[in-house]
């Protein structure tokens, strides 16, 4: 791993994200890993605001904002143009939220990776539409309150497994990462950069505002998502070779849920059920990793 890379700062401190915003931390490490020969494609999301209003910009790389559902397609066009101009060096990276990835942008993403377009697609996942005021997405986890899953109508559907959906496209590289594990995140971004074709990185990025947590808990809660097996760290190469990067089992899920306002309404029985689901998902992942070991 090129740890020197961590010295390079390609994001300004004067962004407009909320204090403790995981999405800003994720971008900072991603850019450190990818370096300045990078073009960022940015569909509508909290980051459309975080990046700053005209004529300011919070990142020191070329950045094209794009319509919400176009992350996969705009990047395809940027790559095609760079190739035609003979620029093989610049990395094209799409930076989208969970809504822009799991939901409205899924078609363009699926199309782009089916064509094996040569770019990195990064989804920073804060588990809801935060830009528009905390509405549920298909990434919102079972049990969560959002403004469109209010009161007793909290979300009773599971989070879509986006990495498996991408893996099913047999792309060269798919990985999960987490803002509480920056070295792992940087290593994965650098590894992705060294591979050709469509690469996907799913970054867990806590959102104090939407999750109803104190801003200083942002990293701790993100770390616990890994330590409870709620968000395992793993990589999949060529759609088949699974590597689990961290095998924890340090906390029960209730520890993670208890800290967050968005889960306050859940009963012990609900939490037991969620524990079952998390165990089941983890077993499934272990079986996949074993099968391809």
């Amino acid at each position: 791993m090129e740890l020197d890379a961590l010295d390079q700062e390609l994001m300004y401190s004067g962004h407009t994200g909320c204090p403790g915003c995981g999405a800003t931390i994720a971008m900072r490490f991603l850019l450190k890993a990818l370096g300045d020969k990078t073009v960022v494609v940015m569909p509508a999301s909290c980051w459309s605001v975080i990046a700053g209003p005209y004529p300011q910009c919070a990142v020191k790389v070329p950045l094209i904002h794009s319509a919400f559902e176009t992350g996969g397609a705009v990047a395809s066009g940027v790559r095609a143009a760079l190739d035609l101009k003979g620029d093989k060096e610049t990395t094209v990276v799409t930076w989208a939220g969970d809504g822009g990835t799991f939901d409205i942008g899924f078609q363009a993403l699926s199309g782009a990776v089916e064509r094996n377009e040569d770019f990195i697609y990064v989804c920073y996942d804060n588990e809801a539409y935060m830009n528009t005021g905390i509405q549920r997405s298909s990434s919102t986890p079972y049990g969560a309150w959002t403004t469109t899953t209010p009161g007793t109508d909290w979300k009773k559907l599971r989070k879509k497994n986006i990495v498996e959906a991408l893996v099913a496209h047999r792309i060269p590289y798919a990985a999960t990462a987490n803002i509480a594990f920056p070295e792992d995140l940087v290593r994965k971004a650098q590894k992705a950069k060294s591979i050709k074709g469509s690469r996907f990185i799913h970054i867990f990025a806590s959102c104090p505002t939407g999750w109803r947590i104190p801003s200083e808990m942002s990293i701790k809660i993100a770390r616990m998502a890994v330590q409870t097996n709620i968000f395992p760290l793993y990589e999949v190469e060529d759609g088949v070779r699974y590597t689990i990067n961290y095998k924890p089992r340090e906390y029960l899920v209730r520890e993670y849920f208890k800290l967050q306002g968005r889960f306050r309404h859940l009963t012990d029985k609900d939490l037991d059920e969620i524990q079952e689901m998390v165990n089941e998902d983890w077993e499934l992942l272990l079986r996949k990793a074993d099968a391809h070991a």
Partner: protein, 392 residues
Amino acid sequence: MKRVLEGSHAVAEAVRLAKAQVISAYPITPQTHIVEILSDYCSTGKMKAKFLRVESEHSALASLIGAQSSGVRTFTATSSQGLALMHELLHWASGARLPIVMAEVNRALGPGWNIWVDQTDSLSQRDTGWIQFYCEDSQEVLDTTLQAYRLAEEVNLPAMVVLDAFFLSHTYEPVDIPDEKDVDRFLPPYAPKFQLDPANPCAFGQLVTPAFYMEMRHDIDRAMGLALTSFIEIEEAYARLFKRRYGVVEAVQCDDADVVFLTSGTVTGTCRLVLKALREKGEKVGILKVKLFRPSPVEQIRAALRSAKKVAVIDRNCSFGAGGIFAQEVRAALCNQPGHPLVYSYIAGIGGRDVTPELLEEIYWKTRNSEVPEKDSIWMGLQEVVHGTRRA
């Protein structure tokens, strides 16, 4: 060199000559022939371009927004549902000031499914900030596509070259294909005014507060105004090289005409025949063909209709509840002109129904023999009984 080509092929030849670098498209009848040829040109190396075989029209235009922002010349083609699906990105392309060129084959929108000619698809995109040209024949399609690139790049706005489904897209006609070297003189390689560049990092399309947004929109409107005068100069330059000129509008025998047909697209060709027949009968009739729809050629329309008493506007489209769209445009152009002609609005040929010489003659006599236009557009050639049921 003269070759017998389909309208679709004429588009493809122009795009080849324009040396578009990234082409991205999704198939829809009757646009398919355009992209099939271009796909072949890209695969065989006849064009040094990349063809993106995207999963939707939405992604076709989105990918061109990415490509053009990265500094290359681009092209797409679509029709009907495909254009409707692109709607959000049509605004995006003009807002981002990207000179993307598109061929748009006029086709009816569903439901029910209808693949035949109808202008409502492109005209319902009139406020998206795209330059729009309506063509009459294949030669005009080829020439206009080349001119569209030069104009779009000069004013940094996207441009749509519109051709009628089947009557133009699938009809073979002799077409003069210009020499590549001459085209290179007319249309030099694309020189982007801005582009994504790691050596000079800039942000495109970010959040804009009310303090700046309005000026940006005003700039687009100004660029549209500029496009009108630029196009006239561009046609001049084109005519010097290739000896062909069409005009933003074409006035045929309007000077002494009492009644002027206002047409667009292939209906114009039929109308030319009707004009001849009526003139032979001593009728004082003319045609005003509108080629450039956006920017709106207001001055040219006023000048051409200066001495007419009545104008009969043929619309192969409808804005439901407001009638024919060209008629609305003409009324808007004329309303502050003292003593302007009366505007008669006719809807004809919707969803691929033929606009025959007989129908046009009927329109002429209706217009000539009526004192004042009706309040609403008149739908021509409607059947009174459909499948045994009398329509109320």
